[in-house]
Symmetry: C2
């Protein structure tokens, strides 16, 4: 009976629906794990189909195809034990992990806990597995978990540890990013490890998929709850660790608390055992490089999420270049900086679209941003088109004073011009609206909301400032000109316009929005927290009334606990406003 | 022990979130039921919150408020037994039905089967109930079901009939419409009634809610599976029936098959019993009017769904008037006819937006439609604005030939003008795209897709023709001019353009789309059905590639088994195309 094992966690970036490409990625990383002398290689959740495959699961052929690829991978896998995520269909459909060993599918574990909240719809697709899997390999007992299985307390993991005697927990995961998610995940991993006195390995997907960014940042935690190592944040990584179960065996034997906890534990599940024939592990294993990990600070974490989300949306959808309307304001400056970091300055085109209300400061600032980022600009004035519209609408609008209609028209001309460039040159339009304005509807449908991807849609305005400051600090120079950071925000759709004409100051607005949108607090509760009554009522009304705009917004990257999109499913027709 | 009872089913149109208004509707109908001499009144599902309340359920205060309203209704309810839908929160959140009797909440039944497929997300919000409710009232045994409870075979209803001895099943429902849903629902009702030899009463919600239309059409079916009566389709109704349980009692006693089936049935649930004190039912009951019901034919059914869905979206969201761009084509003609039937001709404004490519035929047909429908038109030519755009883009587009960019620009100018009218006059823009073009992306984002509500978004083009023919037949005159029905479809965005330049004929396209989109069949399977290989491959590609456009489309009415929107959740970033 051995007590040593080497395990590899390839933290890879899969693509939804790319069964062939994902399978190639898997096989390449099995080879890499073999070369690294690993005995086991553990992949992220739903490795073959990609995550989340959503309604592709409803296509029978998709499931058939993903199983064909699993069989091909199994045949390619002889030397080590590979644990790969796939969709199984045994009477019902399961989110599953296959144990591939000696050219065959040796066992399959079904995900038991299915998340059906926030952005997750797994009960739409999958039946819950029933029995947590324990397998014995090389004299060590392992429990296999799929993502949510490890999140639910007193469930799968504890059953594996206390009932099944698992010494090492292997978790395949696709856990999307939001601010501070690392802390949440590590706390879960530590708690489970400490509770059952086992080593926990958690391999998390990395990459952008529509509105989600998976941040990677997998981990290995020992039986005392100490972090052994972590995977990189927001990039692919290849973790290899040597594990020794003798300390945890000694601990379990010596310390009576383990036996006590084990006896007290009421298992909700019957566990299932599989024993894999002894492997002929290579006695010679290459020496491992030591790993270093420093967690990103909050601003860098968010910034990196936005860069990765943008890069993957653009490239996985087959685009090379993006186009951004630069207004001279902070939102478009930040969006441009993110795009440059995601795609390179040669793949970002800036368009400046001045009107009669565009100030000289704005022109200067817009050009300065482009220059500092090294991106090509086009300047396309919108006055003549605006005049043509006004002339065309003169009769039907006679006797009606100017109002928001004419402001929206300007925003929509800009949207049309950006879309025309997109159509003509194949560039993807990135929109530049932040979460604060998207929340209250301070944006124009088909105007500044027109585009393929809304990079900072889930970033509150106060955070927009912090991200710009971070970017400047990081570069150790003014990437985003200081004047942009200090001038009052304006849409410049009429003379002397300022955001604060209509909106409360952003440092008042943003915390109210966080309570109302992200925490689902009522107007009354928010007022009781000390926010001004009139402001709270007005903000809540604006959020509710503008649901129709958000429903037609482009997708964008989720970075908060609750983003607009599939994370927040509020009816448009809705007469509840409290 | 009595064997006679009078039951009322108010088939009402509730509004999501309108707790106060819905409560008033409930109290009014309790009064109406009392006046009709009913002993029991059964409301549709989630009567107080409206259906589906979606993420409003995540607001704690929403649930608290809905329970306050339930208590108020209970206090108003003394003379009869009222069964009202609400959201209960006992440790967990339940989709529930309350039995209100003698001024109190006498019992609560929790929905047990939670739909989490198609447009439904009930597992996101609710915990499943555990024990089906049986109550005894006036010597008769009743089973209370909430919607899906009756849809699942060998479940709640059979447990109530075989284990609980229920003689009458009362089902609160909010079952949305799609083509032929009536047949599906009646088949379920008949099967359950025959299986347990009980009377089934099914009260279904009526009204439009965002993308859904609830068609009402509740029913009462006797223990032999014969229809006693049905509620009107697509309008409010008030069904009152006198029921006599003595025939079913006699049948159950005489026929040994009932006892056999009862003994064989493996109940998945423990049922729960409540006995309500004997009521003092009024001995004098007013005589009931006889009811007649003739089901609508398929075209009329769909047409009425579109009218109700449009009317409710517009009015429940506080609009009075709508504006529609009339092209002279069939889609906008049908949309205008539906709008007129929904809102009255005085509330529909037609805008004709000719370009240099607009034919005289189109102008004549557009004007003819407006004239026949009696709606006001504005004619706003787009050439000058188009020229202004071309002039503005001249430099940046130099050396690039004309292509789809210039076509889209024209569509977007039209979209902008309609939106400008919307902004200036407070009219809601109705878009006119059908399901065939929405499927393959033969439409312009922010152009013809710009607007608040997409009336015929789920209507395939071949069905558009049928609906126009139906409308003309119904009116016994040409509401939609014959020339529109016979000319070949064109977008008129360049000279001599026809839909068939790019698309297969619609009678080939539509059945392929039905297989690929609604039935999730693979390209291979569709080709095997005999459709031309190249066409199927091209159509499937077009559908997949245009997911990004549909994601930004306005909501519209579901009339098929699978509509775009929350019914079909396909990733944009997706490399599976087979």
């Amino acid at each position: 009976m051995s007590d040593q094992i080497r395990i590899a966690l390839p933290q890879i970036n899969t693509i939804v629906g790319d069964l062939k490409g994902n399978s190639k990625r898997i096989i390449d990383h099995i080879r890499k794990a073999e070369a690294a002398g690993a005995d086991i290689v553990l992949f992220p959740e739903l490795t073959i189909p990609g995550y989340p495959p959503e309604d592709l699961i409803l296509k029978q052929k998709f499931i058939v195809d993903n199983k064909l690829w699993l069989e091909r991978i199994a045949k390619e896998n002889h030397k080590i034990l590979s644990i790969v995520g796939f969709v199984d269909n045994q009477e019902e459909i399961y989110n599953s992990a296959a144990l591939l060993y000696q050219g065959k599918i040796a066992a399959v574990a079904h995900k038991i806990c299915l998340p059906n909240y926030s952005v997750f719809d797994e009960m739409r697709y999958f039946a819950p597995g029933k029995r947590p899997l324990i397998f014995e390999f090389s004299g060590i007992k392992f429990g296999v978990n799929v993502c949510e299985d490890i999140w639910v307390a007193d469930g799968v993991t504890e059953s594996q540890g206390f009932r099944g005697g698992a010494e090492i927990i292997l978790s395949l995961s696709a856990s999307p990013y939001f601010v501070d998610k690392r802390d949440v995940r590590l706390a879960i991993g530590m708690t489970r490890a400490r509770t059952i006195r086992a080593i926990v390995l958690y391999n998390n997907l990395v990459g952008g998929q529509d509105e989600l960014v998976f941040d990677g940042n997998g981990f290995v935690i020992d039986h005392r709850g100490e972090i052994i190592t972590e995977g990189k944040q927001f990039e692919e990584d290849f973790i290899v660790v040597d594990l020794d179960v003798s300390p945890l065996r000694a601990f379990r034997e010596k310390d009576p608390s383990f036996t006590q906890d084990k006896l007290q534990f009421q298992s909700p599940y019957e566990v299932r055992f599989v024993s894999l024939e002894p492997s002929d592990m290579s006695p010679k294993k290459p020496e491992l490089e030591s790993r270093k990990f420093t967690p990103l600070n909050r601003s860098e974490e968010i910034y990196r999420a936005l860069v990765l989300g943008t890069k993957d949306y653009v490239t996985k959808n087959g685009f090379e270049k993006v186009v951004i309307g630069l207004s001279g304001g902070i939102d478009s400056a930040l969006t441009a900086a993110i795009a440059v970091d995601a795609l390179g300055s040669e793949n970002v085109v800036a368009v400046i679209l001045p009107s009669e209300y565009t100030s000289e400061t704005s022109m200067r600032d817009a050009n300065a941003v482009a220059e500092k980022l090294g991106i090509h600009t086009e300047t396309i004035p919108i006055q003549n088109t605006f005049k043509a519209y006004l002339e065309t609408l003169k009769d039907v609008f006679r006797d009606h004073p100017r109002d928001v209609t004419e402001e929206n028209l300007q925003a929509r001309i800009r949207g049309n011009i950006l879309m025309a460039l997109s159509n003509k040159f194949g560039w993807l339009v990135l929109t530049t609206g932040n979460k604060s304005e998207t929340s209250v509807g301070y944006c124009t449908l088909y105007g500044d909301m027109a585009g393929g991807f809304a990079v900072i849609k889930d970033v509150p305005k106060t955070m927009v400032y912090k991200l710009c400051e971070f970017r400047n600090q990081k570069a150790n120079r003014e990437v985003i000109p200081k004047s942009i950071l200090t001038k009052p925000p304006t849409a410049e759709l009429r003379a002397e316009q300022k955001d604060e004409d209509i909106l409360p100051p952003y440092d008042v607005l943003d915390p109210i929005l966080e309570e109302f949108v992200e925490r689902d607090k009522s107007v009354k509760e928010i007022i009781e927290q000390g926010y001004p009554r009139e402001v709270v009522i007005k903000v809540a009304q604006m959020v509710d009334r503008n649901e129709y705009k958000r429903r037609q917004a482009p997708p964008g990257i989720k970075i908060t606990q609750k983003a607009f999109g599939k994370d927040r499913r509020v009816p448009i027709t809705n007469q509840y406003h409290t």
